[in-house]
């Protein structure tokens, strides 16, 4: 799903649209050092919006394109793989994955 507006945040619509999924990956291009999600600013909002959903999806964030870095199709396959594995395992390993950086390490 795409967020056309972030303020005011579409809390109800996000909850209704994402409630049916098992896993949600939030792709973001901003970070907050020391924040509760260790990075993703939008993840804080999306997680909060999903809090009252009876069967909450697993949520994590993917940091992509910071500093104008190119985000490639390969990066999105990598994100999908992480999310698929998280759903299979029933838990997310981290609240933030850095696209383009973590693959290079792994």
């Amino acid at each position: 799903m795409k967020l056309r507006f972030v303020r005011p945040f579409p809390t109800t619509q996000v909850a209704e649209s994402l409630a049916k999924f098992k896993g949600v990956g939030v792709v973001e291009t901003s970070t907050s050092y020391g924040g509760s999600m260790r990075g993703g600013n939008l993840l804080v909002e999306v997680r909060a919006a999903l809090y009252d959903v009876p069967k909450r999806p697993l949520t994590t964030s993917f940091m992509a394109g910071l500093g104008g870095d190119a985000v490639t199709l390969k990066d999105f396959y990598w994100m999908a793989e992480i999310l698929t594995n998280a759903v299979k395992a029933g838990r997310v390993g981290k609240t933030v994955y850095w696209a383009g950086l973590e693959q290079a390490v792994a």
């Binding site: 901003s30 970070t31 907050s32 050092y33 020391g34 924040g35 600013n41």
Partner: protein
Amino acid sequence: MAKEMTLSGCAASAQAVKMAKVDVICSYPIRPYTAAMMELAKMVAEGELDAEFIHGEGEHAQLSVVYGASAAGARTFTGSSGVGVTYAMEVYSPISGARLPVQMMIADRALDPPGDFGSEHTDAMSCRDQGWIMGWAESPQEAFDNHLINYRIGEDPRVMLPQFVCQDGYFVSHIPGKVLIPDQAQVDATRLSSRNSSPTTRRSSSSSRAGMPPRRAMRSSICESGASRPAW
């Protein structure tokens, strides 16, 4: 021996900053934090604190001054409130990005409109994503403690980050409370070994400028040797 004093939050902050023996202070008035700078200005004028006290042209200038001073190895202090905090916004990320342990006091106040002086955290919270350490004091005692704690943490070579040391405007900044003030020797012994061991600082000693005359003496000797003496 530690002593007990009755201080407002701003006065407690100024006491802590004095005991931290800061090198460079940059001020610009905006209430309610201004009271801390008034106290520090008095301390410098009366010779209790040997620091450069610089009047900035505005908050952006304040942060730029301490950015440069901290990069040169000085322990620095600045502060603001409300719209002053947001006016300096550009300079926060260069300071944290450069890993400089600048300390900034914020006595929280509402943003405009409508030119509100009320106490709220919107000013500081608008800067929470800038990579600074950030925390609040709920009493003058905590304000005093937090300044020293933050210098210690921020200047640790493993951390090296600037710090927003926040307190509620008015409710903390202007209501006096009992503050237990430790001995200067206690502060010297516990707090400041960290910046000393950092490779990024050229300070020869954390608690004094070893082998150097006090700044006041240096300044007057420069004035006397020159042809013209500045107004100050």
